[in-house]
Symmetry: C2
Subunit: 273 residues, 2 copies
């Protein structure tokens, strides 16, 4: 599904949100593929974690960005949630607190980058500061403008510190969002997931799409690339993110680490105990 | 499985580690029961989380303590891992760092207690400071002695702050530990899980059992009770912890929270958008 990696001249507005690039199956086939992938991903994650115990300093960071209801929560639940929680460092970034706002926008982000052997997952991220930050003019234009370069430098630092950075935008259609918000209003067990602010943001849809376009133009780098995933079909988006993680970990050529002790000596000690 | 809650005059040494109190089935039946329980637990957890979004301040803290290989990791993977990661705050406490050691032993613990609507899981905890702390004499006896009361006060504070505290000791047999450690030494894909220090601790088994006995005598309170779970059968221990969580959340009488906005007004706004 490398097709999801954006390329030069990428235009968000020309991307279909209901496509399933790289996957020919239907919803049912996707469910089977997701279950199969979970086993593969679990083993890769365990190897990744295991290696960190014997000195491998590599980290993995998955950044998730999207409009409301696009399915970030479902990715966390069904893709990330299928691997051992001990190997995951999940952070949901909310609106910054007053204390956080007294610092540089990357201050709170830096504190939460994953450690060795961990898959860090940012549910929203520093990109909010150039998305809602830009659309809602939460900072002067010159300040916003500076942030793109600061983000690139920050992400380059992460990469220099052995972090593989994968940035995912779940690309949802305007009409599909309406359907999903309506569902939250229709069902009493979904009311808690709805927030009147969701419609406020929805009314600024074109502004957000434009803000995303600028994000892609200014922060898609070789070091930290963007992947735009059509998200109208939840089952597709989940499978796509799962395979991004699988591909990334596979490329790390992970094997079980060799013992850092003398196995025979330990067998003898154990036997005598 | 309320039988697992310890009572007055509890003696650890007289408890079987291979029992399955409250469950008459075998391993196969337990697997089915665990899968069924996962669905129940997931829905309870989601309601618990949902309520926190509209002001419910309740928290849940599960403390896991055990000798090495007793299965804490499996509980985290298979019981906790079956619910939405967004509702879990998992903390694995390692040996304290030098910086942490310059503080009171509860300092690093307090920073990691769960927020509203979250299930906090402590994989090891402040009890290490009266377990390995006592056995290895990491602090003067008078200091260790004081800690039990400090723990009780700390846990009472948590309870006063609407936290339900469940403390679990996975009770593993000495012989079963040997089998499990041997397996880690036998398989190359398990070598990373073995640490020569595990046998060092194993040689102090009776001291640890005694340290646990003192823990139960001094920190089993109505506010924060202990549950001792026979752990020779992994499938039983997982099921038992799962049901402890289910029972605890069930007693909270959780329902989906009412909308904090006018549903009809929002439907109209959405329709117009």
């Amino acid at each position: 599904m490398n097709a999801l990696r954006i390329g030069p001249g990428f235009v968000l507005a020309s991307q279909r949100t209901d496509a399933t690039p790289g996957f020919a199956g239907d919803k049912r086939a996707a469910a089977a593929a997701l279950a199969e992938g979970a086993t593969v991903l679990s083993e890769l994650q365990e190897k990744f974690f295991a290696n960190s115990r014997s000195g491998d300093t590599r980290k993995l960071l998955l950044v998730l960005q999207a409009m409301d209801t696009a399915g970030k929560g479902g990715i966390v639940r069904h893709v990330v949630g299928a691997v051992d929680p001990q190997g995951i460092d999940l952070v949901a970034f909310k609106a910054p607190t007053r204390a956080e706002l007294t610092h540089d926008f990357l201050w709170r982000i830096r504190k939460r980058v994953p450690g060795a052997g961990l898959i860090g997952v940012f549910d929203r991220s520093h990109y909010e500061d150039v998305l809602i930050g830009r659309v809602r003019q939460l900072a002067p234009p010159a300040e916003i403008d500076k942030r793109y370069e600061q983000i690139n430098e920050f992400e380059q630092e992460l990469v220099d510190d052995d972090t593989t950075v994968i940035k995912v935008m779940l690309h949802l259609g305007f009409d599909e969002q309406k359907v999903r918000l309506a569902k939250r209003l229709d069902r009493a067990d979904k009311h808690w997931k709805y927030n009147p602010g969701d419609v406020d943001e929805r009314m600024l849809w074109p502004d957000y799409q434009e803000a995303y376009q600028v994000v892609f133009e200014r922060t898609h780098t070789d070091a930290a690339p963007w992947f735009v995933i059509p998200a109208d079909k939840k089952w597709y988006a989940r499978l796509a993110v799962q395979h991004l993680l699988i591909d990334t970990l596979t490329r790390m050529n992970l094997d079980w680490p060799a013992a850092t002790y003398d196995v025979e000596v330990e067998k003898a000690r154990l036997a005598a105990s």
